[in-house]
Symmetry: D2
Subunit: 208 residues, 4 copies
């Protein structure tokens, strides 16, 4: 089967543009209201054609069922603190049945990947109106902290650079560093909570 890739990718590109605008708006809305935003920044991308083909071969997905691939359209939402992830996930759940449909969720924060990878994934179905008509596509929304993103960015870049041939002992070190990044995340959340507590104390005292 010969795929007209340009045509095929059109609705995915549009979906990514629309979803990026939608989640970026939420951030600027919090800022305009002078409130803390659970979203720190948002990125998005359409999977490169070569990566789609490579994945379809690896997973034995025939090209005429390629639309079942869940991450052709990908949105990444970065949060400052671990607690923010929950807030963002619940913002997305609130939209379920409105401008998007949640297909399923994958909690790689509770169920850490073998590699050490942590993130919360939500697979959504999203409807776009294109020049060639309406189309419903799948998109993967990844929600993660800045620390999880720091680790995942480097791990991805190492894997890519070294063609997924990372020796076992180094894999172990990467995994340990993922653990360290997560401990850092937890420490930052705790610090925030303690500051809130001590602030409360401080304000009580100063109002005597």
């Amino acid at each position: 089967m010969i795929l007209d890739w340009k045509r095929f990718l059109l609705p995915y590109e549009q979906a990514v543009e629309e979803l990026k605008v939608k989640f970026k708006s939420i951030r600027s809305e919090y800022r305009k209201m002078g409130q803390y935003s659970p979203i720190e920044f948002v990125t998005g991308r359409v999977k490169a054609m070569s990566s789609i083909v490579e994945k379809s071969e690896r997973r034995n997905i025939p090209l005429d069922r390629i639309e079942e691939m869940e991450d052709i359209a990908g949105i990444r939402i970065m949060c400052q603190l671990v607690d923010d992830i929950e807030k963002v996930v619940s913002l997305i759940r609130d939209r379920d049945g409105k401008d998007l449909k949640i297909v399923y969720e994958k909690d790689y924060i509770e169920n850490i990947k073998e590699s050490g990878y942590r993130s919360y994934h939500i697979i959504v179905s999203y409807r776009v109106q294109t020049a060639i008509g309406e189309k419903e596509i799948l998109a993967e929304i990844q929600v993660r902290t800045l620390a999880m993103n720091f680790w995942a960015t480097i791990e991805h870049s190492l894997n890519y650079k070294f063609n997924e041939q990372i020796p076992e002992d180094i894999k172990m070190r990467l995994k340990n560093s993922a653990e360290a990044a997560f401990l850092l995340d937890k420490e930052m959340s705790e610090i925030k909570d303690e500051i809130i507590d001590s602030q409360g104390m401080f304000q009580q005292r100063s109002s005597i």
Copy 2:
């Protein structure tokens, strides 16, 4: 009534961002498929607070019914040729009941405004998901040719600069120039059609 303007304008700002992305995508989709795009470019803006207040006073709209104002969110779609307007309008009609609802249409191309103004307006109702919940707002989509836009841009800028105090004889000249711009538009469309005809002839002849 005291309005929290920042909060009030949030969903309008988001709607404009989303609608701009949606119509710009259509243009890039035509281009990617190597086809002529009926959309040449797209702009959008949220009406300034001062203009909203001024209009509400002029039209006697109380501030608690200000959401009935149709052009707080405004999208402008520019076309090369008059015929393209129809195609764009029908693309928007195709979306009715999908990602937007058409409230009504105002055809200022058939029914030219007293000033000479021409454009096709579609008032839509559009649903946005904001940080403070779901909201359905009104937006005005103006569809016009580059020539109509040329005229309207200058007329608007003159009116603004001279505080709507344009003398009668000059109003008449502006109106005549709107007419001239429209004749130019028609001439360009005709030239296109003749080229298509002569091309047809040329291709028939050369294939003998």
Copy 3:
């Protein structure tokens, strides 16, 4: 000679991005100061590889001298009124020897092209710092009114669509419509001047 096109086009792409930001900033600066901007909007593009090759063949430019082509990087500045063109040109001349160097100017408003085309072109030399070092490239800045742009956009699109095979009688009609567009431009400028005069009169009278 085999050209590494990606590498070759890099500095042009960067120059277009930088110049677009620079001229767009000027517009937003006038707006922020509450003043009329002689710049209405700005676009830019790098010539497609296929068009560069096609032009180099047509003009007999060997590929190792392709850097002499003046319009690989192109910036287009649109003005509302004919008088604004002069202001924009003088803004660019003021930068000569600063962030750009003027190589030469081509006045297609005084010396209209055979086709009817009008615009003011400035060829500049612009220095960019890229990942692969410093590079000085040529760029063409076109300054035109909205009406000139309306005509040029349609003429270009017709020429492209019909493979430059526009019959003589239709060429004549296109030329006439360019003339009509220019008369419209002049009429708009005159209307503006008359409004300024009559405003002056009005203000004198009302201050008695």
Copy 4:
């Protein structure tokens, strides 16, 4: 002295736009050449008027010497790995005397701030052409890893939220977490180096 803030901030806003485009281009240039980019992403901002006033009071800078403030225009460049910082710094040094001038450098990676803050700062002088003429302004370029940025973002947000009144014991915990983030950075760099070594071994063996 009354400052016309809009006018005052214009060249800073333009400088930030230009510098963002320039450093983002470098990233996309590496990507287009299929090479690893030492720049992961770039952000920029002009300091809010209120923060400028607050800082000028805190530091006793009179408003007529406010241009000496070095961080009114701020650019932030994020790198994946600690080693990349050096590469980015040397890319900036290569431009010294070309499109920017280096005023001085502050190495908060060698000389960590009391709070635990790490980043490499370069103060540059940058010349912009605005609608109101040429102007040379100061800008601060911060170069840091994703991990340093993770820590600094949260520390800044905590300081802001709690009005700089963070108790001593919590300050100590924040400092420790900065240390942990830096160890993580070092571990990631080492992992990369080991992978390169083991890859080298692997390739030698497979080429026997």
